[in-house]
Amino acid sequence: MVAGAVWRVWHGVAAVGLAQGEALPPVRYLRRGKASRLQQLMVGADLLFILFAVCAVGAAVLAVLAHDEANGVAFLALSALNGAGVVAVLGADFLALFAVTGYLFTALVLLMGVALFFRAQAGSQPQTAAPWGRVFALLTVILAAQFAAVLLIDGEFVLSAQAAISTTITDALFGAHGVSLLLAGLVLLSAVIGAAMVAVRPNIAGGDGNDAFDEGLVLKDIDLDEDAAQAPRR
């Protein structure tokens, strides 16, 4: 009964995107093995699309509502990974890999910002143990379940006819759109240089200085000779 309801809901959602009188294969048709290979691939791709889309939206909601900044960044990474999955299901594998790389870099930078944020507030507020372990364990379970679903559901995407699109994209990137790519690289280089200059510039935002933050950045003096003398000798 529940499976039938889920099937009807999915069938209704999928029917919204029907184009040019295209018909979805009925479920009994699939069970009897009478559906064509293309129809089976369509069902697999649709299920993967729904899986990635639901996880992306859920992670996005949790990223916005998270009180802990690190949890928000982790859920953003999960949402971005699922967005990359959606892009992969759409047939743009190159763009999906680019998205994964870019958002991993984004998550790393933001996590560094979160660490600095907590270090800056360490002197003014009591530190509370954030449940990062549970959140990252949850993310690991979700990603493992999605990986298992991708393996169980037919992994061949419906738009596999565009498998050679990566070559086409690189041809376009370094050919007709080469100047745009060069300008984008210059923008990124300018941003890196500007970020470095802003980071080392004193008196930004007219502040008086954050002693707790400065103390957190200074490495503690470690007397290596003294440590070596106190080490137990064998």
Binding site: V13, G17, E22, L24, F49, I50, A53, A56, V57, A60, V61, A63, V64, E69, G72, V73, L76, G83, V86, V87, L90, G91, A92, L95, F98, A99, G102, Y103, T106, V109, L110, G113, L116, F117, Q121, S124, Q162, I169, A172, A184, V187, L188, A191, G194, A195, M197, V198, A199, R201, N203, I204, A205, G206, G207, D208, G209, N210, A212, F213, D214
Partner: protein, 101 residues
Amino acid sequence: MTLGSGFLVLAAVLFVIGLLGALLSRDRPIALIVSVHLIVLAAVLNFAGFAVVHDNVTGHVFAVLAFVVSLAHVVLLGGLLFGVLRNNESTSLDDIDNLRG
């Protein structure tokens, strides 16, 4: 099929979530960055989806360029956040509205 129009719905939902998050995170700069990235993700989904539907590579190229601009945004805001934290104890967006070069 679902892929034909599903990406539009997904991108719209992500855009609305990001927009609401950006409006509601007045005192949390990292939450603001997260929300802006959700908006960028929605735009990239639209670029990729339309590029696939219309069989046009230009959409993929624009998505790549959007990603690069998004990375530049993160790098610049990371440096800005570092500089603000170095000089101010508060990181509330309302408290650092007196940025000057």
